[in-house]
Amino acid sequence: MIEESVKEELRRIVGEGGFADHREALASYSYDAFTFEGEPEVVLFPQTTDDVSRIMTVASREKIPVTARGAGTNLTGGSVPTRGGIVLVFTKMNKILEIDKENRVAVVQPGVVNMDFQKALVKYNLFFPPDPASMAISTMGGNVAENAGGPRAVKYGVMKDYLLGLEVVLASGKVMMTGSKTMKNVTGYNLTQLFCGSEGTLGLITKIIVKLLPVPGTRRTVQVAYRRLEDAGTTASRIFGMGILPVAFELLDNVFINIIEDYSHLGLPKEAEALILIEVDGPEAAVEAQVEQIEAACKALGAMEIKVARTFQENDEIWKARRSAYGAEAQLRPTAIAEDCTVPVAKLVAMFREVEKIAKKHSLLIPVVAHAGDGNLHPQILTDIRNKEEMKRVEKAIEEISEKALELGGTLTGEHGIGIAKREILWHEIGEVGMEVTKAIKKALDPDNLLNPDKVVQMNS
């Protein structure tokens, strides 16, 4: 319980407009895009680093847990409080502080929305590649804390690949700067990257320095349907083998193709086992040549159908199928649990087959869409959270999917993080020693376990 006098102290720091403890506000910050819900005792909207530092000073003195939150699009419960306390909402720290065209870097506050940042870069002819599906609303702070990425990761990588430095408020309330505005920096430990993907458990990010790329010339999408999933897998290795690195390489399985087609009537071949979308970018002539090579390779592999976009509008037409995936699945069952296990690219097809078997074994509907170019699968487990019996089977399926991914040399999560969702199985991947080191780091930076407790690792277990 936070005492009234402490609430008063917090209210003074953020001002009337930045403080809320009415019932409706607490309910509104009790969830993110994961199933778990839990209410805070106070919701605070800081505006400056100093606000955050002073809040943290009070929180550490009073031992109040603090859960940082951006737009709350997290899929593993990372922005939901488990022990009441403070939810610290960064949406109002949303200034782009600097776009330095000459040095190709930018400095932003954590509440800047990814898409707004991308748009602001257009007039400088600069480009920030990380593109999580939530990018129209998710914040840069959340993107760093989750080390977010999306379809463009095949060629351009994820958040960590663009992160140069941070300003972080520590559990004590002290403020630390890490990294610099330089492309190279090997001074001391790589503290910047320690916070990237730390899910709000090690410190509170208040400023972010990222590097930027020049805008690639043009881009073109190719859609290919195969009767056999294996041919889609071979396509990836063929294309990489030809020296082509696509921006994105997405794959929808037969279950998804049918769900989407029934919903959107796009004319997708319902008998296909795999539908792939390949996007390439670069100078016009190079893109043209690459598209031709891709087309030829797919033909040689016996593709059922090949569609090549000739314009940006046609690119969009092709992406419609991929974009309607989640809307289509939502029509079937009330709950969709998005898994995100990731395997080495060459093991992708094997992993698809494993998911197929697991779905059959537990009588579940699990369509799969994958960022196939980087081995990241999204088995979408369609269920109804109110159906207890089915949820037991769902849990079992998730466990088995995770185990199989690890067996194939992969990882538990490629995008969504550990949060609450996967903390019980974290040790399966990182092992006992990994757990010891993880806990030691947590203990060193957050001795009182105040920063987003119960996420990633549970300190008392």
Binding site: H22, R23, E24, A25, A27, S28, Y29, Y31, D32, A33, F45, A71, G72, T73, V89, T91, K92, N94, G111, V113, M115, S134, A136, I137, S138, Y326, G327, A330, Q331, P334, T335, A336, R386
Partner: protein, 389 residues
């Protein structure tokens, strides 16, 4: 109409992904979950269909969350799970109003409509103040009847608040040599605010009254310059009253007159103009191309498109009860839209909705002087009337 059971199922279907947030004009300004479609749906769930221990009771804060929705319906348009957040929130407002917990300014609007038949508590005879002199004279001398094939229904905002929409529409119809009837000071509010605030019962009674007047006029077609009235007649009336008359917006009328070559235009304003899709015409009825074709005829290549247009158009913030509850919030939302227009170097924003015009004008004024773009706000009837030979 969606039943309460369906709404419960829809609310339960919300996966809380947050992908409605970027589309909500209120969230874009407030940046708080309670002011977002997802937030309102979650609150509605706890208010209307709570799980044990999570019940939320009627309160000032709950009312603020439900009533600071502009009813732009962008959330329902873009929800990946298609759960119709705006319908769920509408049910929230209905139950809140029934519990007597609607905000005072909203209750005041209801009283105004009940007692004065318009939202502003304006005098009945003042409805015709905006009419051009020749029309006023005709009415006075009893030479203008209600009876004609086309009945013009002007709406409260254009009658009491805006000085230009009514004379512009009249000028256009006169120029085309049309015969039309007017309800003049007998016209009453279409009732849309009643519906939106959650008073379906009074809305239904009001609709019957309006329809009786329309029937009595013998009109085959009703033309309104008001996007809200249009939405009322086309989308909401059919559920509560028998609609045996064709309803057109002034956009349809002008489009038709141009096509029939009954209207002849001289040159346009000579400045870049852009069309702002009113939510009640655009997202509600997909009326996207007619207004653009009209403006193309008026301004030619000077017509430019804002980045967020048609289905994706950003709401100006003037809808719902937001203007009554938080005029600053409404104006701040309009600021975003004015900046959208400035980004494409437009100098005039044209809309087909009197509420949009009113609120966008407030948006221009809300921008600090030193950064305020040169921007004129006009209704489509005005820009056409100016261009009529």
């Amino acid at each position: 109409m969606v039943s309460s059971d369906d709404l419960e199922a829809l609310a339960n279907q919300c996966v809380k992904c947050g992908l409605c947030l970027p589309w909500c004009p209120v969230y874009q300004k407030a940046l708080m979950e309670e002011a977002s479609p997802r937030g309102r749906v979650q609150l509605a769930k706890r208010f209307l269909h709570p799980k044990p221990g999570e019940k939320i009771h009627p309160s000032k804060e709950l009312a603020k969350a439900f009533y600071t929705c502009t009813v732009c319906e962008a959330c329902s348009c873009f929800c990946p799970s298609q759960i119709k957040p705006s319908a769920v929130i509408q049910e929230g407002r209905e139950k809140l109003l029934a519990a007597g917990a609607a905000p005072e300014p909203v209750k005041a609007i209801r009283e105004n409509i009940l007692h004065t038949a318009n939202v502003y508590a304006g005098k009945k005879e003042d409805r015709t103040s905006v009419y051009p002199a020749h029309l006023k004279e005709k009415i006075k001398e009893g030479r203008k009847s209600k009876k004609a094939d086309t009945l013009v229904f002007l709406g409260c905002v254009a009658s009491y608040l805006d000085m230009k929409i009514v004379p512009s529409l009249i000028k256009i119809m006169d120029a085309a040599g049309m015969d039309y009837g007017l309800l003049a000071s007998e016209e009453i509010c279409c009732g849309l605010p009643l519906y939106v605030m959650g008073d379906k019962e009074t809305f239904g009674r009001n609709a019957s009254e309006v329809m009786a007047m329309i029937r009595e006029s013998g009109a085959k077609e009703v033309v309104t310059p008001c996007a809200g009235c249009y939405k009322s007649f086309r989308k909401l009336y059919p559920d509560v009253v028998e609609m045996d008359v064709k309803v057109s917006h002034s956009v349809h009328l002008i489009h038709r007159l141009l096509k029939e070559k009954s209207l002849h235009l001289k040159g346009g304003p000579g400045e870049k103009i852009t069309y702002h899709d009113p939510c009640d015409l655009g997202r509600s009825f997909q009326i996207f191309e007619e207004p653009r074709e009209i403006l193309k005829a008026v301004a030619g290549d000077n017509l430019v498109e804002m980045e967020k247009n048609r289905l994706m158009a950003r709401c100006c913030g003037g809808g719902g009860s937001v203007v009554a509850l938080g005029p600053e919030l409404a104006a701040d939302m309009a600021v975003f839209r004015v900046r959208d227009a400035a980004d494409v170097e437009a100098r005039i924003i044209v809309s087909g909705c009197s509420t949009c015009k009113d609120n966008l004008r407030k948006g221009v004024k809300a921008i600090p002087k030193d950064e305020r773009p040169k921007m004129k706000i006009m209704d489509i009837t005005e820009i056409v009337a100016n261009a009529v030979e």
